[in-house]
């Protein structure tokens, strides 16, 4: 409810916002991850990029586009929805299920690189690994994230990290991308008590 603008009451706490990555930074970071994937996988042969919705999906497509631009390799891209594998399903109202799209060749025997925007507790990645197990048997699974903000609750680490951002637990990292939000940016919101 809106409070009367009495001078007495403490001013509404403005959550302080810090831009961590600008639009140009995001592009550079994506380029770097694409190069690292090419380097670490020796040319990205037999590799599949699977984006985790919402923002992992466009990131995976961008990585594939950059890899193709750098070395002319077409890396298949898919989307892996992990909703039905979450460990907190019954703590929330029922979540909508999104589409899962595997590339035509599937994932059996391939190197699968999971792509997400922010790595935090690691629970999303745990769910993604369970989902992968039901979809096939990849030769190996790697993880690429735009931002690693720490505070892992599971023994999971990323193979490719765009930017490590040390955060306090109460802080919030928000990634926006042109495809989903209109513009590329990564922001850090100072600790506001979650409502």
């Amino acid at each position: 409810m809106a409070q009367p603008s009495a001078a007495r009451s403490s001013p509404p706490r403005q959550p302080s916002v810090k831009v961590i990555l600008t639009s140009a930074d995001v592009q550079r970071v994506v380029d770097r991850i694409a190069h690292q994937i090419l380097e670490k996988t020796q040319g990205a042969a037999d590799t599949v990029l699977l984006g985790i919705p919402t923002r992992g999906a466009p990131l995976a497509r961008r990585l594939a586009a950059r890899i193709s631009a750098f070395e002319g390799v077409a890396v298949p891209v898919g989307v892996l929805d992990i909703t039905l594998y979450r460990d907190d399903l019954r703590r929330h109202a029922t979540r909508a299920v999104g589409p899962t799209q595997l590339p035509p060749g599937g994932i059996d025997g391939r190197r699968v690189i999971l792509v997400d925007d922010v790595l935090f507790s690691g629970r999303t990645v745990r769910a993604a690994l369970d989902a992968l197990g039901d979809l096939g048997r990849p030769a190996s699974v790697q993880l690429a994230v735009l931002v690693d903000r720490g505070h892992r609750q599971l023994p999971i680490r990323a193979d490719y990290v765009g930017k490590n951002i040390p955060t306090a637990l109460a802080e919030n990292v928000k990634v926006t991308l042109g495809e989903t939000d209109g513009a590329d940016e990564v922001r850090l919101y100072a600790g506001v008590a979650s409502s």
């Binding site: 909703t83 909508a96 999104g98």
Partner: protein
């Protein structure tokens, strides 16, 4: 999300569309290596069937198992019901066993509504008397949408014993919510007066099948229940088949894209000829497969979160 699914009228357009969209994702599971999802692990679904049913019970059982729920099948035959237990006492027993959902089929119209007042879990109506069968309507809508690409504006002709058909009732309610236009066709004795106005405005009634076929996108044949034939609703089986049965000649008068549906089990030669039932326009086998996906979607959306 709603807590129970008792009637096609429980669903507004958004909820119904969400169920159909979720069902489309569930359908993908059937083509996977592991045809199972962990979403309902630790939940218990009771199939409480007071009437014989094969496909609906198996369909719900498969749907619950694919979502990793535990399934308990309870059929009236050979159970405490045969010893005279009331519906309420059975409900309290299920409640004590911790059923998260009860899927109920009962010969009495309204039994699922009563049950919903007695148990804490979700109640899903799997057919009650001559009243409703909402998951059948959902799977029919899903089948139409996947074959024809849309529901809004479709002309759906429902042919047969509308008076006793819970499938027809739920379909009229759901399809009109989703923007399709339903025309009910059958002998005047089997179409209740004013049913169209009572169920959904915009629903038409016609007693002449041949008049509506050329403009139909979907022709849904209802099963003629054998027990009705002795009740003088129509003069003879042959006359019914001649006036309201769908044969090859009638099928060819339908538009090229139009499909033929039947909720099963069919009486071949009565309401539908084998030529039609086995033609590429027939979606009868697809409907069975879609039934599992749609019921998975309903179970997930009712039980998947903390919607209580």
């Amino acid at each position: 999300m709603i807590r129970h699914l008792l009637s096609g009228a429980d669903l507004d357009a958004d909820t119904a569309t969400q169920i159909l969209d979720t069902a489309a994702e569930m359908a993908a599971v059937a083509g996977r290596e592991v045809k199972k999802l962990p979403a309902l692990r630790g939940r218990t679904v009771v199939n409480l069937f007071y009437e014989d049913s094969t496909r609906t019970r198996i369909s719900f059982e498969a749907a619950a198992k694919r979502l990793s729920a535990d399934v308990i099948n309870f059929s009236a035959k050979g159970s405490s019901v045969a010893k005279g237990e009331s519906l309420k006492d059975t409900a309290l027993t299920l409640q004590a066993m911790g059923a998260d959902a009860v899927v109920v089929r009962h010969s009495a119209s309204g039994a699922p509504h009563r049950l919903a007042g007695w148990v804490d879990g979700s109640v899903i109506n799997a057919g009650d008397g001559t009243h409703e069968h909402p998951t059948q309507a959902l799977l029919d809508a899903y089948t139409m949408r996947s074959r024809l690409g849309r529901l809004a504006g479709l002309s759906v002709v429902v042919v047969g014993d509308v008076l006793h058909s819970r499938v027809a009732r739920s379909n009229v309610l759901l399809l009109s919510t989703l923007g399709a236009k339903v025309t009910l066709v059958g002998p005047p004795t089997l179409i209740p007066v004013d049913i169209a106005a009572a169920l959904a405005p915009g629903t038409d009634v016609c007693y002449d099948l041949d008049a509506v076929l050329p403009s139909a996108d979907v022709v849904m044949m209802l099963r003629v229940q054998r027990e009705r034939m002795n009740d003088s609703y129509f003069p003879s089986a042959r006359e019914y088949a001649r006036r309201y049965g769908l044969d090859g000649a009638r099928m060819r008068r339908m538009p090229g894209h139009a499909i033929v549906m039947h909720p099963g089990p069919m009486n071949r030669g009565m309401e539908i000829t084998p030529e039609v039932a086995d033609s590429p326009r027939s979606t009868i086998v697809e409907q069975v497969a879609n039934g599992v996906s749609v019921r998975m979607a309903v179970l997930y959306l009712l039980l998947g979160g903390n919607n209580r």
